[in-house]
Amino acid sequence: MIRTLPSSKIYKAGFRLFIVIFLVFLFAPLIITMILAFNDSMFPSLPWKGFTLDWFFGKGPKIIGLFNDSFNLRGIATSFKVAVSVSLLSTMVGTLAAFLFEQENFRFKGALYFLMIAPLVIPGVILGISILLFTNSLSIFIEDTFGIYLKFLTPSFGLVVLGQFSFITTIVTMIISARLRKFDRTLEEAAANLGANRFQVIWFITLKYLRPSIIGGAAIAFLMSFENFNTTLFLVGSQSTLPINLYQQVRDGSTPVINAISFILIITTSIVAVATLNRGGSRKS
């Protein structure tokens, strides 16, 4: 039943068939989406009407390709900016949190740790609503007492970043903690013994050791932020992110521009994914 145990032909063949079906199930929608980005048709469906790159480069009037579609381009740009901000912020705080939970001892550490992992089990929608309600009440309170109107407390770019940051940091913390836990602390002691202070130790020894996980964490944070929908939905202002834009288009009937966007996203995420996985793989061996 495993590699070393003798097993029947039917068992092996059955298992292989199962995996093949599973892979088809996994890839069919993605591959179809990508192929239809090149169909010379007004709708993302069959029949095949010939190959075209218009859904990428078309200048109108019939087909406006992705690279001339200012609405979607703006969405991509916004998502990109959000994702960069979130990944920077959550990687920084996530690293600090990893140190806090792995290397420090303090009262109520257990409770704080529980809070730290709580976002894993809070639905994204609820996180979005809570933050929306809280910032709204806060801005009303500040306006009433101080007479100041704080724009960033209403749905806007900043709020989207904060909302995504609030749960992505948990993921980053867990990735970095996992590596920090394996760190041999005698290395730190040795460095301290050779005259390095706490920050020099962390800077020269521990952070160097953590680098792969920090990079991995940042990459994952970027991807999660880029594709986030549930939390973002409640926090976007006038500048909507790509998933929000796409959602509206998909809901209200779509053109193959969405396939073109999908094509580019699938290819780039695959490249990022494979690169990150490879880093992870080579680290292990």
Binding site: M1, I2, R3, L5, I19, F22, L26, A28, P29, L30, I32, T33, L36, P44, S45, L46, M92, V93, A97, L100, E104, F106, Y113, F114, L115, I117, A118, L120, V121, I122, P123, V125, I126, L127, I129, S130, L132, F134, S137, L162, G163, F165, M174, A178, R198, F199, F226, N230, L233, P243, L246, V250, R251, N259, T269, S270, A273, V274, L277, G281
Partner: protein, 285 residues
């Protein structure tokens, strides 16, 4: 030892303060606000239980709630049943060369945005979709059938979008399962079913639990998939919340719903952990 005696531990506060701000400002306070708002009347802004009363007296609300919970459990179970053999094939049956490739193949699609994956299924399954064109083309169907917008498709979509979060943790623990345990059980006369029941599943329980919790949470809180693939008049509970907040602008009612969803998810996770005698803090690692 030495660091414990330092009078002021600056490093501790540098770790602690940002983490504390993150958790306090973006997790604790917003959820307290959610709770507070749920007890306020939408017009009167005074304490009231009406928001919760509305939930229990309007069947549409609590029916949606129960339906969402039931389907989430069902989806989690289906995902588990598919993930176990997939993980088993990758870790224990496939040749070592194939193993790495399969891992990458299985992981990559899940890095692609949920929206795009759902979109892929939509253009595959809808009435004018690829599958219909194909089946009508080869003559199996006389005319196109709408395969989208029903519960079966929605469940499949939810299984599809949350699969990874089960497969990865299970592969994690199953990879650590020493082959010799399976061999020993076999040597002592155990059949395949017994080996699964007595050895593999108990051993993988931590992975199964963490996978199940995450999948359950994601499904329960998902918005896109039920909205885009599910039946038009059968709502998911997150859609109810969305409607209250965005459409009716009744934030207090929405808060109450949000809080109930949070309560439900915590409760089900708690029961699941109790039933399988696992600990939350261990499971999420």
């Amino acid at each position: 030892m030495k660091s414990d005696r330092q009078p002021i531990r600056w490093s501790f506060f540098i770790f602690f303060i940002p983490v504390f701000l993150w958790l306090f400002l973006l997790i604790v306070l917003p959820h307290l606000e959610l709770l507070r708002m749920s007890f306020l009347g939408s017009r009167t802004s005074t304490f009231t239980l009406n928001n919760y009363k509305a939930f229990f007296t309007e069947p549409i609300y609590w029916l949606t709630f129960v339906r969402t919970a039931m389907y989430s459990i069902l989806v989690t179970f289906i995902v588990l049943v598919i993930s176990l053999p997939v993980a088993f094939y990758i870790t224990k049956i496939s040749s070592f060369k194939l193993q790495g490739l399969l891992m990458v193949l299985i992981l990559v699609p899940f890095w692609v945005s949920e929206l795009i994956r759902v979109y892929g299924w939509m253009i595959l399954l809808r009435e004018s979709g690829v599958l219909n064109s194909f089946l009508v083309g080869i003559g199996i169907f006389k005319e196109p059938v709408e395969m989208l917008y029903n519960d079966v498709t929605m469940v499949m979509g939810l299984v599809y979008t949350s699969m990874l979060f089960m497969v990865v943790p299970i592969i994690g623990v199953m990879g650590n399962l020493d082959d010799s345990l399976i061999e020993a059980a076999h040597d002592l006369g155990a059949k395949k079913i017994v080996i699964w029941k007595e050895i593999i599943i108990p051993y993988c329980m931590p992975g199964i639990m963490s996978g199940s919790i995450i999948v359950f949470m994601l499904v329960l809180g998902s918005y896109l998939t039920p909205k885009l693939m599910g039946g038009k008049n059968a709502l998911w509970f997150t859609e109810q919340i969305y409607n209250q907040i965005i459409v009716y602008f009744n934030w207090n009612q929405g808060s109450a719903f949000g809080f109930l969803l949070l309560l439900l998810s915590s409760l089900i996770i708690w029961i699941a952990l109790k039933l399988t005698r696992q600990e939350f803090s261990k499971v999420v690692k």
